[in-house]
Subunit: 323 residues, 4 copies
């Protein structure tokens, strides 16, 4: 496994990491979670992504339980959580980054994770109804109180990230060091264009999510939605629509040919393509099944084979079919 | 219930809230307090105002006891307290905002409230004998130590509020975010004129008190002071004089006609008029009796009916009979 | 009792207070200490001065024991301690204001005093071998950690005090608010000349010591050193020399005549003269015997009688026989 | 024993101190460690140097155990540790000064040492893969949390030290106060040339290591490597090569003649020469055997005899045979 610095910070994260959106708690039981974590660690993964909102807090509970059983030294792994969505639809409890919510949320999250601190804590979305200064103070206070080591954002605009950085610089608070954007062959503009100046100016690190565009880039939706897909779950109609886009599935087909030439799956090709971006610190991949983990990890070997020419060829296939 | 941001902060407070001046401890027993809180919460109220000096500390004790019995999640409600008057007439124990008093007071208050922290903590009056810088440090320290989330002032001049804000900005301390002024149809100048620049410049939020001008705006003093009024209590002669002012009671009579047209009481009209001011974050209303709470809450529906024309009409009736 | 602000701070101290140099631990037993404290408090005194070095730590122990027995509310009194001299002649343990010593000393002192915090903590002398910045950080840290409320200096030069103030201002630390200088009719230059600009510029408060010039101003050394005087103790030869100065004892004789006219003792006159200086926050007086406390407290009544003419007359008698 | 200020700080350290590279844990058992510490203290040594990496953590364990048994007052001695190398070859656990590692390391180190705090904590080497700002925050946080009193660096470049100092100054954090460089007759450039401006500009103190150039300056390698030398241990081939350098051993022979004239060993002469440098705060000497401690301590008497002429003579013998 290769390790990369989280942006300009000194923290080393494995370039492939695992996350748990919908996964733990909904589809995977405790034992499976523990086995997934262990398999990932065996492959060299040291970063395990999580969030308060994943499975309504259960994702944290299950990961906390698994980590306790696995009993690895705390220094040896990196855990994250994220706050914004909240667990209850009530004022100050959801869709907010205000001080009251954030300081409550970190304590509740650490309780579920059975940890003294998380390594990374993210503002899961921007909150237009809270001043960025209030949020910066609360995030910095989490670090000052020893409840987190580094803080960052997820899906914030470049302007918002820079504002947070400058407020922290001016008031001598802990600055944001990373952002968690969606990044894949169909979603590139934020990472490649909008954030461009931030890499150099503030040393922003990226922990990217959805490398396979919710599975679209695995090719398994080329013939419709399989029965065991989460896109069949109730409340995921929007996902179903997105995954069955004809134009995109056609592109996936063409990418499949390049993958064949490299002797890998289209999913591995898609992940390997992300690894070629030096501004990416780590690619968060899915962790529902152990085989999936083993499969995804092979993207590292594929990345070695992607020459500048092949990279160009992949991007030509996608054309301008990305956001 | 509508919720509003507390000024430019990210905290959401119900636009109607309840307070307890004289109320708890003197006139209302523990059970009544608990029932009042429960009724208010059922109506959507999430902010419960209090102060060290209310009923000499008993108001906090009774609220603390009620909150413990009600056992709501701490994240779901907002509690305040205020310091300045003190509980004992002795140096450093009353009429002060010095460091010694404030750091003592917050601990004693949290003990009475049986809480780990209050959401809002106010300097109950300005103290000309303590430098604003000393007070700002002490208030900011309460927040840094996790004993309060936001701090503000009550009945401070615009100049004093801005001085506190700028000292905190310069020394990178927690800034004041709200002020608790008296505000009603007979008391408008501070809110509407003196603080005007502060809303824009520092994002000041308002938690207003005495919406009914100590009951004058209910109309119940038009024929003298009723026997069950607190204005009959010993030591409240000043209040009795104020409530029986002929000119003002005449105005209340005229407002009653507008209220009749809107199908509401004059008290509801008076509260609704305050709600039309966008700089008001929440109107603190009385909570002696459950019926009073139900009555006051209806002001929200009345506010919807107050067109700009009706607002003008109300203000013309009052004329310049306000401070 | 009159109370004065400690300089520009918001803390109120009784204009007469009691201290314990040599007193507790050496000459006075526990019971006497408790009775002295109680008598002073009955007279309205709210400030009790102490220091690590007084009686080698025993002064703090005895005061701590007495305060515990008296069980007054902690908010109702003000206690000080001071660090510099140390208790052991070894590197980092005496004649220093370095971080190691100061952070050790405050914990040891609070342990002896059986208190959670002292109100005032002083740097007992300047230390040319420690940067003022290091000392300012350590003193400010004591306050930030809740172990003291205000900090100051004792017998520092005006330049050193201002340097400490400006370092704290620049680094946003807690600033020094008071100084404890010797001040009496024979020792005036530091208070009246050297510190002059500091009262206005930084609001410096004064807790003055040795109002009777080690007893010289009581007149009891006009006929030599009495047998029960501490000047008879071994190791106090320097004091004996000072107290038997002929010129000064002659002045004391003349002051005695003014005192006679005002119906008071020369000691009361000397203390009353200090009270006329508005830059003095409190005059620390001796507390060996209860009668001494009662005697000294009467200086307040004498101060009322000192007109500008009498003040001038007193100062003319002293002439330039002062430092 | 003479004591010197640690640079411009107020901390007093004995000009000779003892360290434990390879020593404790590998070659010396617990009893010997305790006896070494006691002998050094009897000689006036108050500073005991250590590091996480020395003997893989065992050096701290053994010193902690010995200190507990000796039960000296904590204020009376100065202990250090250092972080960078780490104990496990894994990401974030070795060769790093990132926040995660440093905050983990200090807790583990204090646990091994059985102490509440260390006096001095060093960044054992510079880490080009962590921003200096991240390291400064973590080191300053250790001090703010009471886990260390002063922090510094070891073998950092002048530019890196100044960068750390200026970042701390700008953000109002605790600044580095000392550096631990190698310094002896064969290794002089860093101390004498590179750091020159830092002594005056930031008051840098020095705790120098390897005064005898790994034993080369004792003269015992003039006839090859003795059987009981650590240079015979496996994995120390590099050391063996260095110690048997013919040119340097020839110089040691000439220094031996000067030593003879002064009636001391060449090792004592080498240490005494270091003591003549006023920018050196303390010379850390070896502590394998009690006799070695007694021997080294005599360097103080030798230093008194080194006139400017003798100093020049020593340096002429060495010529430019130094780094």
């Amino acid at each position: 496994m290769n390790y990369r610095r989280l942006g300009r910070s000194g923290l080393q994260v494995s370039e492939l990491s695992i996350g748990s959106w919908v996964t733990y708690g909904n589809q995977v039981d405790r034992r499976a979670a523990r086995e997934s974590l262990a398999a990932a660690r065996d492959a060299g993964v040291n970063f395990f992504d999580n969030a308060e909102v994943y499975a309504g807090g259960k994702s944290e509970e299950i990961m906390g339980h698994a980590l306790k059983e696995l009993a690895w030294p705390r220094i040896s792994y990196v855990v994250s959580t994220k706050f914004y969505w909240g667990l209850h639809e009530a004022p100050n409890q959801y869709h907010t980054l205000n001080r009251k919510y954030l300081l409550h949320a970190i304590d509740a999250s650490l309780h579920r994770l059975q940890l003294d601190y998380v390594d990374l804590v993210f503002c899961h979305r921007p909150d237009p109804n809270t001043p960025i200064e209030e949020t910066v103070w609360a995030m910095s206070d989490m670090i000052a109180r020893g409840k987190a080591l580094y803080w960052g954002t997820s899906e914030w605009s470049a302007d918002e990230i820079r504002a947070a950085y400058e407020i922290a610089e001016r008031h001598h608070l802990h600055k944001p060091v990373m952002e968690q954007p969606q990044y894949n062959l169909f979603c590139r503009k934020r990472v490649e264009q909008q954030y461009m100046r931030l890499y150099e100016d503030i040393g922003l690190g990226l922990t990217t999510w959805s490398p396979l565009a919710s599975g679209l880039l695995t090719g398994k939706y080329r013939d419709g939605v399989p029965a065991d897909s989460r896109a069949q779950l109730q409340g995921y109609d929007w996902l179903r629509t997105q995954l069955t886009d004809a134009g995109k599935n056609n592109i996936v087909g063409q990418l499949g040919q390049i993958a064949d030439e490299l002797g890998c799956t289209v999913g591995q090709l898609a992940i390997a393509w992300i690894l070629k971006n030096p501004n990416v610190s780590t690619v968060i991949t899915g962790a529902s099944r152990i085989e999936q983990i083993h499969e995804n990890m092979k993207a590292q070997e594929v990345a070695v084979k992607i020459t500048p020419e092949i990279k160009l060829k992949i991007e030509e296939v996608v054309g301008d079919a990305y956001q």
